[in-house]
């Protein structure tokens, strides 16, 4: 645990924007369209926390298979062997398989919460990432999104862990009024693809909201080179 009470992202240049990192216990929404490296970036933060700080982290994947995710991370230079005792990647897609033929997303949500609570007792993880909110919403068949989300976020807060929630809602739509997660979350980081000079696409990262933090809300270019993520001031536009 960091004595400052902040969780370092280990993204070069980004921690400075966040006054040293993400306040512990925050629920942070990572929003971006598909292909913006949300999963990779979150995994990168957890990987480095596990590796550099010895933090116990859990990465919950609901859609992508565990092996596919880990292979992807290996290929990016993050050796799972180095962190396997601290970073646990769990494929909770199999809850659905255990509930096959049983209708009702309620039971799914109950099992999901039940499992993560009991895991908290076993591992006492301090960071948990959930990939992704869209899939979770679908599987649990949220009928009243507003209230269901409210209770989900309340429950997440009670886990006493820093939570990363991955959302595939495009950042532009996140604030059009129908997405409550923007208000419910303590922090929002958005990722987008920016077309540069009509041909090149660059990934842009922006911290839209971070409670208890005087953050820099401008767009930064997100680069991945030589196994490291880094942000730089966006040059064009």
């Amino acid at each position: 645990m960091d004595p400052t009470g902040r969780l370092k992202t280990h993204i070069e240049g980004f921690d400075r924007i966040l006054e040293g990192g993400i306040p512990q216990g925050h629920i942070v929404l990572m929003a971006g369209t598909p292909g913006t490296m949300k999963s990779s970036l979150i995994y990168y933060m957890l990987y480095n926390q596990a590796k550099e700080n010895g933090t116990t982290c859990v990465y919950v994947t609901l859609e992508q298979s565990r092996n596919s995710l880990l292979r992807q991370m290996e290929r990016m230079g993050m050796r799972t062997e180095d962190v396997k005792s601290n970073l646990h990647v769990l494929d909770l897609g199999l809850i659905r398989k255990n509930l096959k033929h049983v209708s009702g997303g309620d039971s799914w949500m109950q099992v999901f919460k039940g499992y993560l609570s009991s895991l908290k007792n076993d591992l006492n993880y301090s960071v948990i990432a959930i990939d992704s909110l869209g899939v979770l919403e679908t599987i649990s068949e949220m009928s009243n999104r507003r209230t269901d989300l409210f209770y989900l976020f309340e429950w997440l807060r009670d886990l006493n862990s820093t939570v990363f929630m991955i959302s595939e809602v495009s950042p532009d739509r996140l604030f059009d009024g129908s997405y409550d997660e923007g208000y419910l979350a303590d922090g929002i980081i958005t990722l987008k693809m920016q077309l540069v000079r009509e041909v090149e696409t660059q990934r842009r990262i922006r911290c839209v909201k971070m409670r208890e933090t005087n953050h820099d809300p401008s767009y930064y270019s997100l680069l991945y080179t030589a196994g490291r993520f880094q942000v730089t001031k966006a040059i064009s536009e």
Binding site: N67, T138, S170, T201
Partner: protein, 455 residues
């Protein structure tokens, strides 16, 4: 009716006649002796008068008696007649009953007769028809024979399909039966605690373990050099990849190219499921693009709606499940590795009910569960998928976007971009997609010049 007794005014009733006679007989006996002559004479004339009177009375009596006898006889006669009438009435009644019974019998007999009559008439008409029919039959015999031969051939041709259909129906029935059994077993409410325990047990070996060794990272090559580079070595085996683009952006051709070259160069078995275009038209188009059918014939199945319809004839359920069953059946006979679905829109349109988000996920899971590397062609523009946070983009493992780009004043270029690909580190840039020399070529777009010639 007996006759009323006749009134006896002044006359002696019939039963008292004897008494009257007795009295008159006694009267002459005390004859006077002393009065002698006048008295005697007087007596004599008186006696004579009396005698006359007696005779008169006797006659009258006799007449009355005769009358009485006559009457008695008449009464007897009347009585007899009454009895006769009674008897006759009884007979008449009996006769009536008999007649009634006979009438009833007659009626049914009449009905039967009428029916019979009708029947006879129809029989006559029928006979006429029969004769004509026999004639027609004789005339049609050769035609019939020919037709029969043709039908027999058609039946034989379809027999193979029918047979596979039957075995499939059996399998289906069995599956439905098993599923029913399962459902019955799982009917009681979910025991959340138990499922949590199950899930915990199943996830135990994922905790504290890295990437299991021995798993090879198998890639399905697109056989387009630059594209394989962009995808960092091809599509991870078992992925579901969306191929998005507007009409004319060569989605179908590009996808067919993947399957064709896998079949041709690596003998990877595949199926191209075309719900849009019929097979002949599709194959002609591909031949024109330099992909010869005989190069892929052994390994690439091309299935169109006509094939599906024929082999699935009489199947219940909506098209979606029919298609899935079809693919499953083929997989059992000829295991194949790569599937192309053209297109997702057609497929969802065939579903009877609305295609919900969870169903897209289930469909994609179904592809993965069958170990298929799947290319799903979609006409919904990527920009819309991104904007409306559609499910297919969430749950697909990868997405290729094809766009038509206006370059300069008149040129249109086709651009391709890998939007996402799980398990791979992609190059997210746009590339110019061209078809040249029987293959696709990717290059970085040149914005300044319009020298690039789109095909």
């Amino acid at each position: 009716m007996r006759p009323a007794p006749r009134p006896m005014s002044g006359k002696i009733p019939a039963p008292g006649i004897k008494e009257v006679r007795d009295i008159s007989a006694r009267e002459p006996r005390p004859a006077p002796q002393a009065a002698i002559r006048p008295i005697a004479e007087q007596f004599n004339s008186r006696e004579k008068g009396l005698q006359d009177r007696e005779n008169e009375l006797r006659e009258e009596m006799e007449a009355l008696e005769a009358d009485s006898r006559e009457l008695e006889l008449a009464a007897q006669e009347i009585e007899k007649e009454w009895a006769a009438i009674d008897e006759a009435q009884g007979r008449i009644k009996k006769r009536e009953d008999e007649l009634d019974a006979m009438a009833i019998a007659l009626q049914s007999a009449l009905q039967a007769a009428e029916d019979y009559h009708k029947g006879v008439r129809a029989g006559d008409a029928g006979k006429g028809h029969m004769d004509r029919l026999f004639q027609a039959n004789r005339d049609l015999k050769p035609v019939l024979e020919e037709e029969r031969k043709r039908i027999r051939q058609a039946i034989e041709r379809e027999m193979a399909d029918q047979l596979s259909r039957i075995s499939q129906l059996e399998a289906e029935l069995k599956a439905a039966y098993e599923q029913q059994g399962e459902e019955e077993q799982k009917a009681p409410p979910v025991d959340v605690g138990k499922v949590v325990a199950d899930v915990t047990a199943q996830l135990r070996d994922q905790i504290g373990s890295g990437l299991p060794s021995g798993l090879d990272d198998r890639r399905v090559l697109t056989h387009i050099e630059r594209l394989d580079q962009i995808l960092s070595g091809g599509v991870p085996s078992g992925s579901v990849v969306l191929v998005n683009g507007p009409a004319g952006s060569m989605k179908t051709s590009l996808t067919y190219h993947f399957l064709h070259n896998l079949a041709k160069k690596e003998s990877v078995k595949g199926m191209f499921l075309s719900l849009e275009q019929d097979r002949d038209s599709l194959l002609r188009q591909m031949e024109r693009l330099g992909m010869k059918r005989d190069e892929s014939l052994d390994n690439l199945m091309v299935v169109d709606l006509v094939d599906l319809r024929r082999s699935m004839e009489g199947q219940q359920g909506d098209w979606r499940s029919v298609i899935m069953r079809y693919v499953e059946n083929v997989l059992k006979e000829t295991p194949f590795k790569v599937l192309a679905l053209d297109s997702l829109e057609s497929f969802t349109a065939m579903s009877q009910h609305e295609f919900t988000r969870i169903e897209v996920q289930e469909l994609f899971d179904w592809f993965r569960d069958h170990g298929l590397t799947t290319f799903v062609i979609s006409e919904t523009p990527m920009s819309r998928l991104e904007r409306e946070d559609r499910m297919e983009l969430y749950v697909a493992d990868g997405a290729l976007e094809l766009t038509m780009k206006e370059v300069g004043d008149s040129h249109i270029q086709r651009w391709i971009r890998c939007v996402k690909l799980r398990g791979a580190n992609i190059d997210p840039r746009y590339f110019n997609l061209m078809h040249a020399g029987g293959s696709f070529v990717l290059s970085l777009p040149m914005m300044r010049t319009s020298a690039q010639s789109p095909d």
